[in-house]
């Protein structure tokens, strides 16, 4: 059997079964190492998971591929490549792409469990706070200290009122 990425013989075989459907990945040692699937002959579970997630979700639609978070600037494709989101607001922005993924990892898309007793910041307020933080950083970098002070007070106020 040949590696899916080059024509060398495949020595790393991964099988994943979801909803009774089997998915297989075959790679040579070099490609597996390059994709960080194996590390010193040890299996890296999180990377395997990410790769299989990519396969499961398939090629994202054009719409999804074009999505960019207005708060932190991360693109959906960047998230898909390394499995890390950019900011809390991404859970809203990438919702369409994330939900099938969450279902796949957790078999659920809805939190059950602990809720901060301190009133949680809602999604919109959260997005606003990220934006204010970015403006604050820009203001500090531009040495616009009066503006920075105003933004800092605004953030404090919003954080305490939730």
């Amino acid at each position: 059997m040949k590696c899916q990425f080059c024509s060398n013989p495949a020595t790393v075989h991964l099988t994943d079964i979801v909803n009774k459907k089997k998915k297989e990945v075959h790679l040579c040692q070099a490609c597996a190492e390059q994709k960080q699937l194996v590390n010193k002959q040890e299996l890296n579970l999180s990377v395997i998971l990410q790769t299989l997630i990519g396969q499961q979700v398939g090629q994202p639609s054009d719409e999804l591929a074009r999505l960019t978070c207005p708060q932190c600037g991360i693109k959906f494709m960047e998230f898909r490549a390394d499995g890390r989101l950019g900011c809390p607001h991404d859970y809203e922005v990438f919702r369409v792409g994330l939900e099938p993924l969450l279902l796949r990892i957790h078999r659920s898309t809805r939190h059950i469990g602990k809720v901060p007793r301190h009133s949680p910041v809602n999604a919109q307020a959260l997005a606003e706070l990220v934006q204010l933080r970015t403006q604050l950083r820009d203001a500090v970098e531009a040495e616009a200290y009066e503006e920075a002070a105003r933004l800092r007070d605004l953030i404090r106020q919003k954080e305490t009122t939730g």
Binding site: N39, E42, L101, L102, H106, T109, H111, G113, P116, V130
Partner: protein, 355 residues
């Protein structure tokens, strides 16, 4: 906190006490938390990270915990000291190797560790010796509540605690139990246990977490799912399965004693003999031999040495600990010689501490 003082002890998780401590080494829970209004660590600018670190450091210092936590600035530590904290499971390899402002707040008994600017802004960890998940949960829940009054966590009603990686979202909780399973390994039954655990969505990892080999026959069993199940449900799922694994391990030990006593005795004696007299010893071999010795003590085959001593040797023979104990940095070959020397010395003293 004085890291030198840590070097000479074995830390909470290897204390060798607590319920079922012949098989269950330790119980650990970690919670992933992020601050609302900041990008996650991987997208945070240096400016953000400095701000996050300063804020969390200040809020952590104000926690009304008794005894107080000591805050350690990780970039200020030498590579060796970082490695020491990794070996003691007080910080992750990721935190040790990352860039930028980051730190860890530690309790003096090493049961609590709060990592700042890890993959998530905050990673809370509580560790207990033996099978004590409920106690660990009650501790960590309390610290989390106290922090939550001082900072705004990124949280959504729908997805729960928002984390950089969607594999942690929801409760943000990873609870794990570390087991010593030498008899199941010897009886070649361990794979069967893994398959059964995977079916119920529990993950099995080696001693040092993700991607690490199960050296010394130590295995960490932890929940995979963090979304759609409450903390209580997740904990009870693990709590229910651990006694079954303990029973399997005990049965495997009894079978070995009944059907292969002589070869088991030989294995334990050889392991002990090698540890007492070898002049070069790798970390891997040490772990494997100590595992057999630990099994031998628990089965009453070996009486020259105690469990707390073996536990201490597991940690003291790790590369960073060994170099700290020897007071000098050593390359691979030198380490193997120093490790063998240290083991000979400790075991000839009948396990008494060299101090």
């Amino acid at each position: 906190m004085n890291l030198e003082s840590l070097t000479h002890t074995s830390g909470e998780w290897l204390r060798g006490t607590g319920p079922e401590s012949d098989i269950v080494i330790s119980s650990r829970i970690r919670l992933a938390r992020n601050l609302a209004a900041f990008p996650f660590t991987n997208r945070a600018t240096a400016h953000h990270k400095t701000e996050i670190e300063a804020m969390l450091r200040e809020r952590i210092a104000k926690l009304e915990l008794d005894p107080k936590l000591a805050y350690i600035n990780v970039p200020g530590l030498s590579t060796l000291d970082r490695q020491l904290l990794v070996e003691r499971q007080l910080i992750s390899r990721e935190l040790a190797g990352a860039d930028g402002p980051r730190g860890v707040a530690l309790g003096p008994r090493e049961t609590v560790s709060l990592m700042v600017n890890e993959e998530d802004h905050l990673r809370l960890q509580v560790m207990r010796s033996g099978f004590a998940l409920d106690e660990a949960w009650s501790d960590i829940d309390k610290v989390d509540d106290m922090l939550e009054q001082r900072v705004s966590y990124a949280f959504s009603d729908e997805f729960g605690y928002l984390t950089a990686c969607p594999t942690n979202v929801g409760t943000g909780m990873r609870s794990s139990v570390m087991l010593h399973l030498p008899a199941l390994v010897l009886a070649k039954q361990i794979e069967k246990v893994f398959r059964a655990l995977q079916k119920i969505n529990l993950a099995v990892r080696g001693l040092y977490g993700e991607g690490s080999r199960a050296s010394g026959d130590f295995y960490q069993i932890s929940n995979q799912v963090t979304l759609g199940k409450s903390e209580t449900t997740i904990l009870s799922e693990i709590r229910e399965v651990i006694p079954q694994i303990i029973t399997y391990e005990r049965q495997a030990r009894q079978t070995l004693m009944r059907e292969g006593r002589q070869s088991l005795q030989d294995r334990v004696s050889r392991a002990y003999g090698t540890l007492c007299s070898a002049t070069m010893m790798t970390s891997e071999e040490t772990m494997d031999l100590l595992s057999s010795v630990r099994l031998g003590i628990n089965l009453g085959i070996l009486e020259d040495i105690t469990i707390p001593t073996v536990n201490e040797l597991f940690i003291h023979t790790q590369p960073a600990h060994l170099q700290k104990l020897m007071g000098t940095s050593l390359d691979g070959e030198e380490r193997n010689a120093a490790r063998a020397r240290y083991l000979r010395q400790r075991l000839r003293e009948g396990g008494a501490h060299p101090n």
